[in-house]
Symmetry: C2
Subunit: 224 residues, 2 copies
């Protein structure tokens, strides 16, 4: 992909300990927003309570808006090799859209994650939206392609096979590097539960030329 | 896909006018939640304001929780042929994850949508998450396969080609039926902006055997 380069990422002189303290704080805060998001879907309260809730939400947002520079969160790194992408739609700790997914590297080639998907991820009745499975797999596979963030990759192609519906609730996903050839990394993956895979995927990930020898070594990983 | 059938959808004796009034009300309410979600990512306020906002969000959620049966929103239909899926992750008017996308049928075979994607949809710095493009395309293509909801389809396979980064902001997507053969519908699509397509997709959608002659004719459409 063109239009991205190392300068898309911004250096921040924030010590890793402070990055981690901020992540802890926002994990708690954003979980409250996730709870609100879930209840916005499920609540059957009357118009009185709905209006009260609406006013409280507006007050909360107005407080946050007192200082909120325009533009997205971006991807940042410090001089200790720590990176953070708090706005990311899959793993961002400040993004209520993100469940968030937390990845576990079993080894350099194998990554898995487990996550609870509630009412906000619905597509077919009671099931995870097929596009949500695609969203989560794309991210997991990109991260996997980065080999523990030792290289920076972008998605080239992604093929998904829908095998069976995936009920909302606890889901598991797993991705592994199937092949590496020059700047190309092929990754296979699935998302499912105790009944086996619901969606299987194969993806081709590419190390952009500008990222082959990045001047700044960070743990940015996948550009998902 | 197995595990879904016409009984997955629930009949509700709610007149279309009331469905539409509820949708209008929740469009406004959920937009407040979307604003909060966006500010949760972008705000730089101090801990004092953050705590105040957190307390207000909790109060709002507690109000909504006074009556909130467990389980997802589901997909419903009435006896006037109107269906609604307010919890859907792409188009649900009560789901803050959904931008929401609003589809326009240009004809039976061609569907487009335009939508503003802000900070909550970020992947690479300043760009739409590749998985979000997959999420939106999957939904759009499934709806397209349904030929204006005259048939009910599920995703079989989906192939995505990532051509260039897609900056956050206004995006456009378009899908068309390329071929129909028995229970199989092939759909091609793209998502992009004035610079052209960023992601191109081909999908195979299938009418499940149990949905070939559904007893209840509704406008449910795609099972995304």
């Amino acid at each position: 992909m063109s239009g991205l380069s190392m300068s898309s990422f911004s250096f921040e002189p924030l010590p890793t300990a402070e990055v981690e303290a901020a992540e802890e704080r926002f994990t708690v805060f954003t979980d409250e927003v996730r709870r609100l998001m879930d209840l916005t879907i499920r609540s059957t309260v009357d118009e009185d309570r709905l209006s009260q809730a609406e006013a409280l939400i507006r007050q909360a947002a107005d407080l946050l808006a007192e200082s909120a520079p325009p533009g997205p969160a971006g991807v940042h790194y410090n001089d200790q090799g720590r990176s953070w992408n708090w706005g990311n739609a899959v793993v961002g700790v400040r993004n209520a859209i993100a469940p968030p997914v937390r990845l576990t590297w079993d080894d350099d080639d194998l990554v898995h994650a487990e996550v609870e998907l509630g009412a906000a991820y619905e597509g077919p009745p009671g099931s995870v939206h097929g596009g949500v499975s695609a969203l989560l797999l794309d991210h997991l596979m990109g991260e996997t392609a980065s080999s523990r963030h030792t290289k920076l990759t972008v998605t080239g192609t992604l093929t998904l096979r829908y095998v069976q519906p995936l009920p909302l609730g606890r889901v598991r996903m797993e991705a592994r590097i199937a092949e590496t050839s020059g700047r190309k990394v092929t990754v296979t993956a699935w998302i499912g539960n105790d009944n086996g895979p619901a969606v299987e995927a194969t993806g081709l990930f590419i190390v952009p030329r500008w990222a082959e020898n990045p001047e700044v070594v960070t743990d940015i990983g996948s550009l998902d």
